[in-house]
């Protein structure tokens, strides 16, 4: 039994000239919550569909819970709960009938979980699925995935259509029942605020490539925004410098590593370092995926003020 719940090995998926997934090597450790982040169209859903056997890779391979995709797909599906991006289930069946249909596939099915989450999420059990709102449909999909008691949960936009109460309940369920239970959860989302509070690990994908994969705590302790004033400040990016925005004698650097060393270097050059501050996940995300724009005038390119969201 290896340490990784999901491991992809230079996974490639090409849809007639579009490289949806480009030599992606993900490492999702067992037992944690992994936030799979990226813009729309970055390749998150395609990657997930490959892991679940809905699509075949053009090149490369992957293992899920130690089983190879394709060859051992059924073994993977026995142990994996899934909520798809499109929350589509059989429209003519009610939630109750969907439970009845689904539980036959899973020996570990928990009826207690069904009862509990039906209550928690206030799911209407006797209306046809097609007549439910998006939020309720999402809840039904969550219910089916959670009741499986699977070793691995792959959730693609699990809060689609949920109102704030629903989102809060979902977060509580993740915090209470999923995290720290030895289960692995991969959440694909661009709701960064939700990911930020719960993820152990973060994997950021853009144009099918992995830009960043690390513990969330490490990312937060290593990324820094350095504001400096002075003449002749370095303008170029480097391995550690993600972006540079300058306005006259002032310069803002987003650094992904060794922030203190860089700040000291700037001071040695005679610059005044006015601020070395941490960055929220949203800022880090935007910095890493935003297209390179060179702007040296006015406020262009300035990093938006972090939106602080209290609980």
């Amino acid at each position: 039994m290896n340490e990784l719940a999901i491991r992809t090995d230079k996974l490639v998926k090409i849809y007639s000239k579009l490289r949806a997934v480009d030599e992606l090597s993900l490492n999702v450790p067992r037992g944690g919550i992994y936030g799979f982040l990226g813009r729309n169209g970055a390749g998150k859903t395609t990657t997930i569909r490959i892991l679940l056997g809905l699509a075949r890779p053009t090149a490369g391979g992957a293992t899920v819970l130690g089983f190879a995709i394709g060859r051992e797909q059924v073994a993977i599906l026995e142990r994996t709960g899934y909520v798809s991006e499109t929350k589509i289930l059989y429209g003519g069946l009610t939630a109750r009938e969907l439970v009845r249909f689904t539980r036959g596939f899973y020996p570990n099915w928990s009826s207690e979980a069904v009862a509990k989450y039906t209550r928690t999420f206030e799911i209407p059990m006797d209306r046809p699925f097609a007549k439910l709102s998006l939020g309720n449909r999402t809840k039904v999909c969550l219910l089916l995935a959670l009741a499986q008691k699977a070793d691995l949960l792959i959730l693609d936009e699990p809060t689609s259509g949920l109102d704030p109460v629903g989102v809060d309940e979902f977060q509580r369920v993740v915090a209470e029942d999923l995290a720290g239970e030895g289960r692995t959860v991969l959440i694909s989302s661009y709701q960064l605020a939700d990911i930020e509070r719960i993820a152990d690990w973060v994997g950021l994908i853009d144009h099918g490539r992995l830009l960043l994969e690390a513990r969330l705590d490490d990312i937060k302790s290593q990324f820094r925004l350095i504001t400096a004033a002075g003449t002749g400040l370095p303008q170029g990016k480097s391995a550690d410098i993600v972006s540079v925005n300058s306005d006259g004698d002032f310069c803002k650097y987003v650094v992904r590593n060794n922030a203190e060393a860089f700040a000291a270097e700037l001071r040695n050059q005679g610059a005044t370092v006015t601020d070395v501050s941490p960055l929220g996940l949203r800022e880090i995300f935007l910095e890493l995926v935003r297209k390179e724009e060179s702007c040296t005038s006015g406020n262009a390119g300035e990093i938006a003020a972090p939106v602080s969201s209290s609980i």
Partner: protein, 248 residues
């Protein structure tokens, strides 16, 4: 669990076909009784004097209208069963359940096949019962074996449409293709007749098989039986391959 789902989806179609086929069988029997067999005259002369009247009736009654209704019914089964999944776009859900895709393909197919069997069997029983009543004595039990050629013919059309639906990923396209092929198969012999060629259609096979079942001296069309049975298997295996390789 999937069997339950397939059954639930096909319930309406099954009942409609059941009623339709039984009703037509009953209707034809009643017509035979009332008008002394207009079907015999409309369908042409009996093939040879060796055949007894009952064989003629068997062929006309079963082989004619009833076979056609069964064939068209089989089309709807083929497009409807697997087409349901495509219509609802629920393949993403179904294919992420821990079952091999071939299991799902075969299960879905089998449910439809069993339903067809029941529909056909009931129709034959109605004919059998009707003829027994009309003739005043128990009709030859061999008539019940008419189920075999009818079923094989129906299964061939059903499975062909099933395969088309899987390839086209749509029940509308599936039934269109299936209908097109069926029409070609039915009409080609008619066209061939004008060029003095002889072609048999699936309809001919079903009628001949029914004639044999009704007690005619004609041999059972073994060759065609094997061909259609093999085609059926080929189509369902083809559907399996298509579905296994499908990307959703």
């Amino acid at each position: 669990m999937y069997i339950w789902k397939c059954w639930r989806d096909s319930r309406a179609r099954f009942v409609i076909n059941l009623i339709l086929v039984s009703a037509i069988c009953a209707l034809v029997i009643i017509m035979e009784a009332k008008f002394g067999g207009p079907a015999s005259y409309q369908m042409g002369k009996p093939a040879s004097g060796v055949e007894n009247m009952w064989a003629t009736v068997g062929r006309m009654v079963l082989g004619g209208l009833v076979s056609l209704v069964i064939l068209f019914g089989a089309l709807t089964f083929g497009a409807g069963s697997i087409g349901e999944e495509f219509k609802e776009q629920t393949l993403g859900f179904l294919f992420t359940r821990p079952r091999r895709r071939r299991f799902l393909v075969w299960t879905c197919w089998l449910v439809g096949a069993c339903e067809l069997l029941v529909v056909i069997f009931l129709g034959v029983v109605v004919i059998f019962g009707g003829l027994t009543y009309l003739s005043g004595r128990v009709y030859t039990w061999r008539l019940l074996t008419a189920v075999v050629p009818l079923l094989v013919g129906a299964l061939a059309v059903y499975t062909m449409t099933y395969f088309m639906t899987a390839v086209a990923r749509s029940s509308e396209k599936g039934i269109s293709f299936g209908l097109g092929i069926l029409m070609i198969d039915l009409l080609l012999p008619v066209a061939a007749y004008f060029w003095h060629r002889q072609l048999t259609s699936i309809w001919d096979f079903m009628r001949t098989g029914c004639a044999w079942a009704a007690g005619s001296a004609r041999a059972f069309p073994v060759e065609q039986f094997i061909i259609y049975a093999a085609l059926t298997m080929a189509f369902v295996l083809g559907a399996q391959l298509v579905v296994e390789r499908m990307e959703v």
